[in-house]
Symmetry: C2
Subunit: 250 residues, 2 copies
């Protein structure tokens, strides 16, 4: 049994990729797959969830009680955090080879609050767990956005404490070429920043950027598209490698 947790910024295509990868596992590997929805705000999912956090609370319900959309999302996250043992036990009880876990639309509710780390801590006690960080080409197609997109999987690793693999999603979009172009020119960002300011902070920022650049050369990021089905087999290989915990990529 393997837990695969899909994470990424709002609009990166988490739900579509969760579904597309699940279908691939079922069709290509004849795997027994279950889908888990952890987003209290979603209306419709393309998959039929085996466990759905909306049985505890929905954002809509809290809005009907008078909260604004932001407040309702934060409150829903708090309510789920209180029931994290129940949620993780129900997911643990599902019988499948692969449990594909789709996280809240707004990533910060999962990653920058106790919800994500506590949930992962619980489910990782029982089964191997890998997180898939989904890079949105719409963010990664500027220099600063690309640097940010490379820092976020690092933060995901830090926060969740399980192996993280990265994919660039929506590989069918034209932006994907820009991302590849910028990857070769990440050092330009360093030049840009250095010219503007000086002092200790800039020295640190420049070393940060050096590390990001080095990081971008070290990790293998696969391209995926829920639309065309591209990259599903590469993603599977990446997850497999991450679980070997060998640290060195093949």
């Amino acid at each position: 049994m393997l837990n695969i947790v899909f994470i990424g910024t709002a609009g990166c295509g988490k739900t579509s990729l969760t579904y597309a990868f699940g279908k691939w596992l079922e069709n290509e590997l004849d795997a027994n797959t279950s889908y888990v929805n952890l987003d209290p705000g979603v209306y419709i999912t393309p998959y039929n969830p085996s466990y759905d956090v909306r049985e505890i609370i929905t954002v809509d319900e809290l809005m009907k009680r008078g909260l604004g959309p932001n407040g309702a999302m934060v409150r829903a996250a708090e309510i789920i955090e209180e029931k994290i043992f129940e949620v993780s036990r129900k997911i643990h009880d599902l019988r499948s080879d692969f449990k594909l876990i789709d996280t809240p639309g707004q990533m910060e509710l999962f990653l920058f609050r106790p919800m994500g780390p506590r949930f992962i801590e619980e489910i990782a006690k029982h089964s191997p767990t890998v997180s898939v960080y989904i890079i949105d080409p719409a963010l990664a197609s500027t220099l600063s956005g690309l640097a940010t997109s490379l820092l976020l999987p690092m933060i995901t690793r830090l926060r969740l404490g399980v192996p993280v693999v990265s994919v660039i999603n929506k590989a069918d979009l034209p932006e994907i070429y820009k991302v590849e172009e910028f990857s070769k020119n990440l050092h330009d960002l360093e030049k840009e920043m250095i010219s503007e300011e000086r002092g200790l902070i800039v020295d640190l920022a420049s070393r940060f950027l050096e590390l990001i650049e080095e990081f971008s050369k070290t990790i293998r990021i696969v391209k995926t598209s829920a639309k065309t089905g591209e990259g599903m087999s590469d993603l599977y290989t990446l997850i497999h490698e991450a679980l070997c915990e060998c640290g060195d990529l093949m």
Copy 2:
């Protein structure tokens, strides 16, 4: 004229701090202050906005048209992005010494989408602009959360291209002591990560953490509380120093 942009994760207290700092400027410096709301999802603000992005679109309106809360937030951000010149011109036209700009509840809509960078690029053409990154002690009171809280102002700097000052908000909460304790022990996180995995990625992660630790010793982070009024004068000093662009802190 000075633009001050308040940024931070959902629930960190952006709106309350924007208002508390504005009141302090008005009362202590006899300053002419205007408040700007850039959150299409907020229901009530404690201040009376001189410009309000809800005149363009609200999350509620989009939800009435059938979108879910996540979809409505992303769509609202897109609609605002299309009108970013109009928004920035209207803010530029406000006549005040200080323009305090409150950003969307979910930080990723501003920081990890084109909205924030494009908006800042426009307003910074006309007046000096500083961003205040608000650290939530609820996030910063774990080791990985503190490291994340120190990386996010760096990402903010990278994305927005204007000076960023950092505050730890809600200084009236007991968590604030944990944050201070952890700040002294950031290197523990490195030990934790290294014991679990090995390889190139871990080497990079460990260098990242070293940098974060160094960064935490370099920057001066002030404690603020909208509730008690603590730290407003310190925040003012910090903003002033950032504008000197001297890079060295006093």
